[in-house]
């Protein structure tokens, strides 16, 4: 074969093309290094057979053991029939101490460096419900003069805007009203984060870092198991606790007793007493999201 101008250009072009392709595909290499074949092939949570779910849970538990050096139990508790969870918060009592946010941080295995939490406590000007005047970054002693404190977490809307925008149906509402995310199905587009009027969703910019002794080993598949990088997460009313009859961690941590939790479908529950006897309101009612999280003032 004699080297002709035509052949040389062909070879040169093919080499350049191949290296450009390899360079473009390089990030995928790093991505697939973190992704096992089983994980890649795993189906949507709601389509998993009991065997596939058990296998997925066993794999996640093994991964936690390997990556974080901690034995954990991941459960996929089902919604309880006849139960729809509701939450109420007494704004006359809340002092803004952020103990709820701290308990959430610990209970839900949040990234320690960012001090992430599903609860953001706003310091609001008394007499105003305008979030423009609210600040969640206060550092002074609380309660401050002429302020009230408004903790905001997922409102578990009955008409959730966040689930509708998900292009892959990785987030949905469960029969007990809790909006959940399948962390293994989420593609991290953050549409839901943008759609939420309450700023209740969080994005895992990095893989959460937690010391193994700080990990809460009581985990739920749809709630507080350690999230991978690049997925969205949110408050689930601690469904790994509440679906077993326990109270959410934020309620137990509240030192002032401002929080009330219970079954909206049980006419004798504490939450129903609050709805019947207090002047409750919801945040951004005009948006028609129909939250299951209610606020009230005593006076």
């Amino acid at each position: 074969m004699t080297p002709t101008r035509r052949r040389t250009l062909k070879v040169l072009g093919a080499t350049l093309g191949a290296s450009a392709f390899a360079y473009a595909m390089e990030p995928l290499q790093a991505f697939t290094n973190n992704l096992t074949l089983d994980e890649f092939l795993q189906g949507h949570f709601r389509e998993l057979t009991p065997e596939a779910l058990a296998a997925a849970i066993a794999r996640l538990e093994a991964e936690t053991r390997e990556k974080h050096g901690r034995e954990v139990t991941i459960r996929a508790d089902l919604p309880i029939e006849g139960v729809e969870f509701g939450y109420a918060l007494n704004l006359s009592i809340c002092v803004g101490c952020r103990k709820c946010a701290e308990a959430c941080h610990i209970e839900n295995n949040h990234d320690r460096a960012s001090n992430n939490s599903y609860i953001r406590v706003f310091e609001m000007k008394q007499g105003s419900m305008d979030f423009e005047n609210g600040h969640a970054d206060y550092e002074h002693a609380v309660p401050a003069q002429d302020k009230f404190y408004l903790p905001v977490q997922c409102q578990q809307c009955d008409n959730p805007p966040c689930t509708k925008v998900c292009p892959v149906e990785a987030t949905w509402q469960e029969p007990d009203g809790i909006v959940v995310v399948d962390y293994n199905w989420c593609i991290g587009c953050r549409y839901c984060e943008a759609a939420c009027p309450y700023h209740a969703r969080r994005f895992n910019w990095t893989a959460p870092e937690i010391a193994s002794e700080d990990i809460n080993p009581n985990q739920g598949y749809l709630s507080n198991r350690i999230r991978p990088q690049g997925v969205v997460e949110k408050c689930t009313f601690c469904l790994h606790r509440t679906r077993r009859g326990e109270l959410p961690a934020c309620l137990e941590a509240c030192p002032t007793g401002a929080r009330v939790f219970g079954n909206l479908l049980d006419p004798n529950s504490e939450i129903r007493w609050v709805l019947a006897n207090k002047r409750v309101f919801v945040l951004k009612e005009e948006l028609g999201t129909r939250p299951r999280f209610f606020y009230f003032f005593d006076k």
């Binding site: 007494n90 009592i93 701290e102 001090n115 406590v121 609380v142 326990e246 509240c254 007793g257 049980d266």
Partner: protein, 201 residues
Amino acid sequence: MSLRVLVLMLPLSATGCGPDDVPRSFASQRGSASGEVEINVPAKLYSIESDRLDPLGRPIRIACATCHSTKESAVVPQSPADLQDFHMGLAFDHGSNRCASCHVSEPRRAPELRLADGTHVPMTEAMQLCAQCHGPQYRDYKAGAHGGMSGSWDLSRGNRRRNNCVDCHDPHVPRTPAVQPAARMRDRLPVAVPPAEEAAR
């Protein structure tokens, strides 16, 4: 409101519970549930801190009855300023109440509380006393909407533990003191400085 009172014979603590101050609990007033609600009985209702420390550095508590059931007590004073030998340094800021508005001390008896109608109740029944003036709070408490709880959200699924009034409120200085909040979240939003704090800088 009817309140079915169950008396739970819990192990008596070493700090000297007498027969008068047995920890109590009440079952759900709503009937359907089987779980029990237990109300805390904090140690300050039957004992007092002394100036001595135990080997772990905690103040040793002395049961009220240790002194009051053996000695003749002085007349209950008007205000803490009148105290001369015992209970010195007691802060008091709770309306226009006098010591005797709530306390009785009869010779050689454990100290008791006096309700508005003159009935004497043991110290551990302090909630009855608080409820006389703070009715709305007591109503909310009984409905599970005040005071917080831990355990189960549904009494048919488990038990529940409730705070006592005096767990959160110091009966002598009931106003909650200011606290430093837990650390804030360091998310990727820029920190907005409230205008008031900006002006102070």
